[in-house]
Structure formats: C-alpha cells, structure tokens
C-alpha cells in the first residue's frame, strides 16, 4: 500500500472508528469494508479530503453472495484523477433489509448505478431522489440478477404483444 493510501485508510479509521470494519489489499487495489450506514459519509470524506480528493465515482454495483449471512454486497469505485489513485469501498447488507444510504448527493454520477443495482438486485438506496427501475419495465415484479432468479425468467412476468 502506498503511503498516500495508507494515510487515507488511517484517516478513515480515525474518523469512522468501528464503522470501518477492515481493509483488504489485492495487487495494489485497496478495498475498505464499511458498515452500510457509513457509506455516504465515507464517500463525502473521500471526495472532500485535501490530501487526495477522489473526484470521480467510477462505478456503483451490487454482488449477490448467495447463501452467506449478509447476502448483498454493494461496491463503489472511486478515482482521484490528479493523484491517479483508486480506492474501493465495500459494504454488505442482509437479505431481509437490503438498505444502503445513497451517495448520489455526494456523487451525482452514482444516480444511474444505484438505479441499476436497485433494478437488478433490489438494493434500496435510501435518499436516492429517483429510485426507479432503469432496464426492466416498471411493473416488473422481480430482481433478475439475483442468484435465485431463474435464467429464463418467470413465465408471464413480462408481457408480449398479442400476435
């Protein structure tokens, strides 16, 4: 881990205490594991810190870790253009209450990513100004990228025009 990233991680630990659950490093990529409730605050912290301002939210997406206690992981990629540094934030939520605070107020670029994660996985981003489905029809009742959704869909859930 570079000294810059190390300093950032230490600053995160100091600012968020036990809401930062851990830090992983793999081939130079640093991932900070955080409580779901802290995600929006961490995003604001990363954007506004003077040391290395992360001015680009590259991606927001969800992963279905089927059959694990906290089933849905939500991951964020941030990039500091000037320092050319990337950091990843990961959080996990329970299947029964898949709610994560929206970071759209900090990074408007996350608006569509959060809508996609909501559409495909059913993650509810609290505070999102317009959390609608982005791909599937609005009256679709399922979240098709979940592991327990059948590959060929559920018959009758999507309508076709009459022949």
């Amino acid at each position: 881990m570079t000294p810059l990233l190390n300093g950032l991680v230490e600053a995160l630990r100091a600012a968020f205490a036990d809401r930062v659950l851990g830090v992983e490093e793999f081939r130079g990529d640093v991932t900070v594991l955080a409580e779901a409730s802290a995600v929006a605050d961490i995003a604001g912290f990363l954007r506004d810190n003077p040391l290395c301002p992360f001015d680009l939210c590259e991606d927001v997406f969800a992963i279905d870790q089927y059959r694990t206690p906290r089933r849905f992981e939500v991951k964020y990629h941030f990039f500091a253009v000037r320092n050319r540094v990337r950091i990843h934030i990961k959080t996990a939520v329970d299947e029964g209450d898949p709610r994560v605070p929206s970071i759209a107020a900090v990074y408007p670029a996350a608006l569509f990513g959060e809508r996609e994660a909501f559409d495909m996985m059913g993650i509810v981003f609290t505070g999102h100004p317009d959390l609608r489905r982005i791909y599937m029809p609005e009256d679709f009742a399922y979240h098709p990228l979940r592991k327990d959704f059948p590959l060929m869909g559920i018959p009758g859930s999507l309508t076709l025009p009459e022949r």
């Binding site: 599937m136 029809p137 098709p144 590959l151 060929m152 869909g153 309508t159 076709l160 025009p161 009459e162």
Partner: protein, 181 residues
C-alpha cells in the same frame, strides 16, 4: 414507352392475380428494423460492394407507412417487442416480415429472461435468415425467397388482420379514456 414497341398494336392477356403479384414482388420496399449487430450487416448490404439495389426493389423506407417488408435485424427484448408490434401495425397491407439472424429467429445465443425467443411469438414471419450475423449475401437470399413467395400470392389472400381485440387485462392502467370503445 417501350412497351408499345414490344406489343405493337396488340394486347396481352394475363390474370389479375399474376399481374398484381408481379407488381408486388418487384417493388418490395424494405423497412430496416435495425436493433443490434445484424443492422451493421444490413448496412453493408446497402453498400456499393454488395448493392442491395441490384434487384431494383430496395428503396429503404424509414417509415412503416411507406414500406412493405420489415427486416427485423437484431436481438428483440420483451421491452422492444411492443415497439416492433406498434411499428408493424402501422405498415399497410400487404406486408411481410424477414427475421434476420439467429436472435430475431429464435433468441439466438441469448437464452435469457429479457430476450424474446423468436419474433414469431408476436408477429407473423415470412422468411427466417440464418446466421449470426448473416452475411449480406445471405440476407439477399432471404429477400429473393420472399420475392418468390410474394410472386405466388393472390390478391384474394386474406390479409392477416388481427382479430378484434379484447381489452387488455395484463397491462397496467384503469382502461378509462384510452383507445376506441
């Protein structure tokens, strides 16, 4: 006109069916319904090297109201199916459909919840063109097969008008104030 010199002062006998079919098959105006990668091959079909106009009947019309044959070129999702049906419904009779490529014909490699497994589930298809994507020559083959089919048609063939539709129950909305009573 050149015809006078051929026939001289004489005349020609034929059947109205043959005459109409001859006129129809030689003026198939396609409507490109380009949805994904097959549309790129469809564009290649129009370039000087392949030259779809060599058959003298390729006036691509970008309006369904002016065209006879819809070439559905690409992967059709359930969301897009409604759009295609709406455009197809705007085409004047008689009308034909070519399903270009594996996706339009059968869903292709997309065995997935979002992709319609063949457009014949919601519109009648006259010619299926195999390939992923089909080369322009393959599309021309399909076009010529359709031409043969149209040449055998009769003016007495009943148009495939949809049956009188019941009020849709599977669509959202309260059904008030829309469409014809």
């Amino acid at each position: 006109m050149g015809l006078e010199s051929i026939f001289g002062e004489g005349y020609l006998t034929t059947r109205i069916d043959a005459l109409v079919a001859w006129a129809r098959k030689n003026s198939l105006w396609p409507m490109p319904m380009g949805i994904s990668c097959c549309a790129i091959e469809l564009m290649s079909a129009g370039d000087p090297r392949h030259d779809i106009s060599r058959f003298g009947m390729e006036v691509m019309r970008f309006s369904p109201r002016q065209s006879d044959v819809m070439i559905v070129a690409g992967t059709v999702t359930y969301k897009m199916a409604h759009v295609i049906r709406k455009i197809y419904d705007q085409m004047a009779e008689p009308r034909w459909v070519i399903a270009m490529g594996a996706c339009a014909s059968s869903g292709g490699m997309f065995r997935s919840y979002s992709v319609v497994q063949g457009i014949d589930q919601f519109i009648p298809v006259d010619v299926y063109v195999a390939g992923c994507p089909p080369r322009p020559e393959n599309l021309f083959h399909g076009l010529l097969e359709l031409r043969k089919k149209v040449g055998k048609s009769s003016v007495l063939d009943l148009p495939d008008l949809p049956p009188a539709r019941e009020k849709r129950s599977d669509q959202p909305g309260n059904g008030k104030g829309r469409g014809f009573a």
